[in-house]
Symmetry: C2
Subunit: 159 residues, 2 copies
């Protein structure tokens, strides 16, 4: 397991969303790691996830397609790097499944979960290679990842 | 641990060097994972390793500098992805330490070790994102990685 010190975000290059949610850690983990759940909350509405494939282990595929109401499709493929159930999930689009370098690396995502009374401290971190990409991602990250966290919480209530 | 099926090379995109060497698996592993050893064999002579830094765990740094006899320096930095002692070491320059995407991704390297009577089956695999990069790497890989394996064997005899 990677030491925590290696996963500290750099404010110049990275984006961080931290929030306490009233969903048990195990449920957040399940919602995040099973394609049949991910489909229901991972795209910011009115976008939808139309395909989702996950092999949740280091080197395993994480592939999904988002579709806009106009029918435009946004496919993404990457691989998982670290999987610590109920604690930490790390994946990147800089590497394809089996660790092959990708054509269009954009970011690495770290999702950290910590149990809290009545729920979970949820931290999402996006790591970028430079300030330019961080800036491109800034609006979409804070709005998008915030919105899908609301959707996850809503969805998890009925899981 | 990544399933073996995920780490199968693709002949169009990847390069593979496989050879049986008369060095015990544990010694090959030690030579590959300790900077004070790596310095002695990892650069194809007359190149030299002048700096080497390794934090051999997933997300940990793998940084080195090669120097030519003319004094030109070739620095490289990446991170380890998988570390299975005496069996498998995976690292990439597509990610910096802590999994941050890098500026100039070139390849992912897999070193596999299997004990054999009298020594070790040594397999080095280089994964590339496209055929063009594979072709760029082809000459250097077969000559360079072959030569440094000879150097490793020679060095390991006196470890």
């Amino acid at each position: 397991m990677t030491p925590r010190t290696l996963l500290q975000p750099n404010p110049k290059l990275d984006l961080v969303l931290e929030r306490d949610v009233d969903v048990p850690t195990e449920l957040v983990w399940a919602a995040w790691t099973q394609p049949e759940h991910v489909k229901h909350w991972f795209a910011p509405a009115p976008m939808k996830i139309t395909e989702c494939e996950m092999d949740v282990r280091p080197g395993g595929i994480f592939r999904f397609v988002m579709r806009s109401p106009e029918g435009e499709e946004y496919p993404s493929v990457g691989c998982f790097l670290e999987v610590v159930p109920n604690e930490r999930l790390v994946w990147t689009d800089a590497l394809l499944p089996g660790y092959r370098p990708s054509e269009n690396p954009f970011f690495t995502a770290i999702v950290k979960l910590e149990p809290r009374t009545g729920g979970t401290r949820y931290t999402a971190i996006a790591l970028h290679r430079d300030e330019k990409i961080r800036k491109q991602h800034e609006g979409g990250f804070h709005q998008g990842w915030g919105q899908v966290l609301d959707q996850l919480v809503e969805y998890a209530r009925n899981m």
